[in-house]
Symmetry: C2
Subunit: 331 residues, 2 copies
């Protein structure tokens, strides 16, 4: 398998899961002091991760939890953010300009910031109140934080049992999914690598993944044009431009919005013959109870798209790390 | 000018502005009883209008105000919505299935619903607590409601002066903008009517307009493929797929996010020669103070895109009312 390092991937996920005591201790301190609301702040791919975790939390809490786009926040502000707000961010480089500016601003307003910042010596790491530095696994870190807050609110009583299962099985399960999907992923990459425009459709906690996979992977890394759309919104405009040859991929998850994805999957065969349905339910998660699959479907999807990316890169010869403009040109 | 009925358009806007006492009386009743939070609920184009008005309100209030997508709400719920929630909706037909279901659900949860429903004898009109029936002008109705709430909160002291100016000048100003932009709109329509994919970029209270113009007008009505993206997010992925020939239109508004639009407008000439900037500042609003332009830029933009639509339809011969699937096929 190209670009596949099983041991490294297993270690990476298990290392992220091992951050749990550190996350719990920080969250405990803020919850004990009392928080009024919870803001997940990001831009681009990290903003998409914020959308995912907000959708996840909304299923079970009435607390004021929301996603803020860093650039929009710097321009428009958000008067809800201030004393008593916990802001959570994530950054690989620790230097994203909009996030640096936004963190300075929310701290001026009295909010506290927990940052998952891969580089502990970066500018952002020096700006936040609490910094956890560990590479990759952004969604997992966000969902671990969210789940512990839900647990502390009495909204997720299975917390300990659930994470015990993840610690025992998740890392291995995810690499097994990569192996299982590899030949599909190669075929998919070959079929769509020259698409003039590829549509991605998704809902629930997969919507953020749909948005970022289209924009941060296919557009930014593979230089293939895409449009992403929420499965519910697909029926309010986009469906009219679908014809037999339109390349469309629907991500179907297992959370509360599964039916919205299935509705698109059911409609497409009537009007299109170039569609693909990636249903996370088709992939086993050994050792993890079925009832938890909705909480994990974004990681299952990521394992599948990770293989598609590996094959797209290998087949096209286009190095995913090359950028035309981003961080190369001033604007 | 094709598809232009000056008297009808002036009367339509003035008629919408004349709804103000009715809106004020309903809002007064809810605010006096006390509301905990404010939810703008819609799907497709109406959801986009919700995004616009939420962005507008966020500039000046810390109240819990948010947009909810009707289909997502029905699937996932939102525990913030209940007793003490005022939900505002808009519907032309009064029959949109997702909105009908969502309104039933929010009322079961104890929320109150104010509906702007063009057809007073429709299903939705019978479901809401308060119904105001007047054709078109969705954004204007939403912004009038929002502005009165802001006024009552002490967040918009100019309310009376502002609406006095709108009542005296807005309707006429908007038709004058249509006349001023008509030859540009025809040229634009001619240039882009055969685009394989057209990108629309916008920010602030124009982001909702950007999203809905791309999806509800070009995709649904003109059957031209589009992608819409927020001006802030443009720099986090999409910029990498722009080349010299890529058709991109940037909507630049005059609210707090103007700079985000200008940033895209400044970047594009360096990498693309097929871009258009539509800056609402280029259009006069006689009799209305400059300080209010940010509150109105979405209506200025609508006047411009309205002319583009008229010419696209005339040039292509594709009737904007024809649908392939929407409300024609069960799904």
């Amino acid at each position: 398998m190209v670009k596949f390092d099983e041991k490294n991937q297993v270690d990476s996920v298990n290392g992220a899961l091992a951050l749990r005591p550190e996350i719990e201790s920080i969250v405990d301190r803020y919850l004990t002091a009392g928080i009024r609301n919870l803001c997940w702040l990001g831009i681009g791919g990290t903003w998409a991760s914020c959308l995912q975790v907000v959708c996840h939390m909304k299923e079970s809490t009435d607390m004021d939890v929301f996603a803020a786009n860093a650039a929009e926040y710097c321009a428009t502000g958000d008067l809800r953010i201030g004393e008593g707000t916990l802001v959570v961010i994530s950054s690989v480089t620790g230097t994203t300009a909009e996030v640096v500016d936004a963190v300075k601003l929310v701290r001026q307003r009295g909010a506290k910031v927990l940052g998952f910042i891969d580089k502990p010596d970066s500018e952002l790491a020096g700006l936040v109140d609490e910094c956890i530095s560990y590479k990759s696994n952004e969604q997992l870190k966000f969902f671990m934080t969210a789940d512990y807050i839900l647990y502390r609110q009495g909204r997720f009583q299975d917390y300990a049992a659930y994470y015990a299962q993840l610690e025992a099985h998740l890392a291995k399960d995810l690499v097994e999914i990569e192996k299982q999907t590899d030949s599909f992923a190669e075929e998919f990459a070959r079929k769509h690598m020259n698409d003039a425009l590829h549509y991605f459709v998704g809902a629930g906690c997969l919507y953020g993944a749909t948005y970022s996979y289209a924009m941060c992977y296919w557009e930014e890394m593979h230089w293939i044009r895409t449009k992403s759309i929420h499965s519910a919104e697909f029926f309010h405009g986009m469906l009219e431009v679908v014809d037999l040859e339109t390349p469309i991929t629907v991500f179907v998850g297992e959370d509360s919005q599964r039916e919205l994805g299935l509705r698109v999957a059911k409609f497409l065969p009537r009007v299109c013959k170039n569609y693909t349905v990636i249903d996370t339910r088709d992939y086993p998660l050994e050792g993890i109870d079925d009832v938890y699959r909705g909480r994990l479907c974004h990681l299952v999807l990521h394992a599948v798209t990770n293989r598609i990316d590996a094959h797209l890169e290998a087949l096209s010869g286009h190095d995913m790390t090359i950028r035309r403009y981003y961080r190369k040109v001033d604007y």
